[in-house]
Symmetry: C2
Subunit: 231 residues, 2 copies
DNA sequence: TAGTGGTCTAGACCACGGT
DNA sequence: CCGTGGTCTAGACCACTAA
């Protein structure tokens, strides 16, 4: 019997668990490799190569590739296989434009369902964010930021739209991991979130739309900036 | 029953190379069955049942289910399998709201890349649409409508956004197959397309935004109306 | 014509959910 | 504890692409 060597499970003898199946590990490894430039733009990802490199069979490789295609990191052309897509400025702008459309829409829709209890929860998360920011604990910042928006978006009662956002999250997150945040981004985020919260409290739709839109535009600006600096 | 024209490739523009693979046939059959009410809302779709019903193994069934989940027709919960989702008013509104956001955005963005040659082509398609409408050839209407928007959206240079639209197209199309169009919808579409074309010619962004938005809103209104009548 | 991709079968194993 | 879902392997076949 051939033992699994290239990609290891948590411990010897433990089969792939639901939490961490093989295709998931392959996907994460591939995402990282693509974003950090191990594969050059346009490079073909051959199944045979990947199976031997990772020591797994076709299926998990295919699954991982499909998912990465869904994120937009690679393209799969029929009968030609997978190609690494260049994660360039234009591509990132495209993604973030879509995010902005949907995030503004969801934020506006959330107003109808917002309650005092939810507002209190949001302010509490905001507080945690600010604390984490002060301690330069950026991992927590990312977590609280996600929670903040997740709560709002779930109130908007459009699961389909929310799924699209979620879908792009991993990708943007992956890019962030490579390029980081701008120095003053966290303090900007704090201000922007506060502005959104105040508009939510007042149920001022015009202000809320502008606040949410600006929040996305600033995020886009920062990420694009980090990418050009990082190069 | 179902005409050959409705069976199309997943990739717009390229002909299906393989004679419909198994997962594709299963997917189409399932989509039709769900939309026409063979399965009741919330019903579990068990793999074992489906494999014996269609006489194929697990893989193509899984593939089909995954794709239908992507369209939103079913939900897949971890360790609980697939459930039929109710294609109700709320769900359809959610989808069409997203479409509207993206379609308006793409239409506005296309302005920068529009040329006299493209405009001529669009007017030509519009002419074909009107002719097909006069002859009550609705299959052609659907085709020309799709071409009309496809040309505009491709000019907008945001493949990611376009993919989202394409993704929902099959679903909306499937719903249309079951409920049809409102009696006067085609003549409304003609007027709406003409308005969009005129705004494109004038490069009047404000008018264009309104025209595109209204076009989507009217389409949504019509579909929702057909669904409530059809019930 | 060889290489590669796309799909499918058959069988195996583990993990989770409800009886 | 059994049914079911989720995943993986191994091997096979055919279609398409490119040399």
């Amino acid at each position: 019997m051939v033992s699994e060597t290239m990609i290891e499970s948590s411990y010897p003898g433990s089969a792939p668990t639901l939490a961490d199946p093989t295709y998931s590990r392959v996907r994460e490894k591939l995402r990282q490799d693509i974003l950090s430039g191990v594969y050059v733009q346009g490079q073909r990802l051959k199944i045979a190569d990947l199976t031997s490199r990772y020591g797994v069979s076709q299926m998990p490789i295919r699954e991982a590739l499909q998912q990465l295609q869904g994120e937009g990191l690679i393209t799969i052309e029929p009968n030609k296989g997978a190609q690494v897509r260049s994660v360039d400025r234009h591509f990132v702008e495209n993604i973030l434009d879509i995010r902005r459309l949907i995030e503004v829409y969801l934020t506006l829709r959330s107003v109808a369902a917002i309650s005092g209890r939810v507002l209190k929860e949001l302010w509490h998360i905001q507080e945690s964010y600010e604390k984490a920011a002060a301690e330069e604990d950026y991992a927590s910042c990312v977590k609280f930021n996600r929670q903040f928006h997740a709560i709002i978006y779930e109130l908007a009662d459009n699961q389909e739209a929310y799924k699209i956002i979620e879908h792009h999250w991993q990708l943007v997150n992956g890019i962030r991991l490579n390029y980081g945040f701008g120095r003053e981004r966290t303090s900007q985020v704090i201000e922007e979130h506060r502005r959104i919260l105040r508009a939510l409290e007042e149920k001022d739709l015009r202000e809320l739309e502008d606040a949410a839109s600006m929040h996305c535009l600033k995020a886009k600006e920062d990420l694009i900036n980090q990418m050009t600096v990082g190069k």
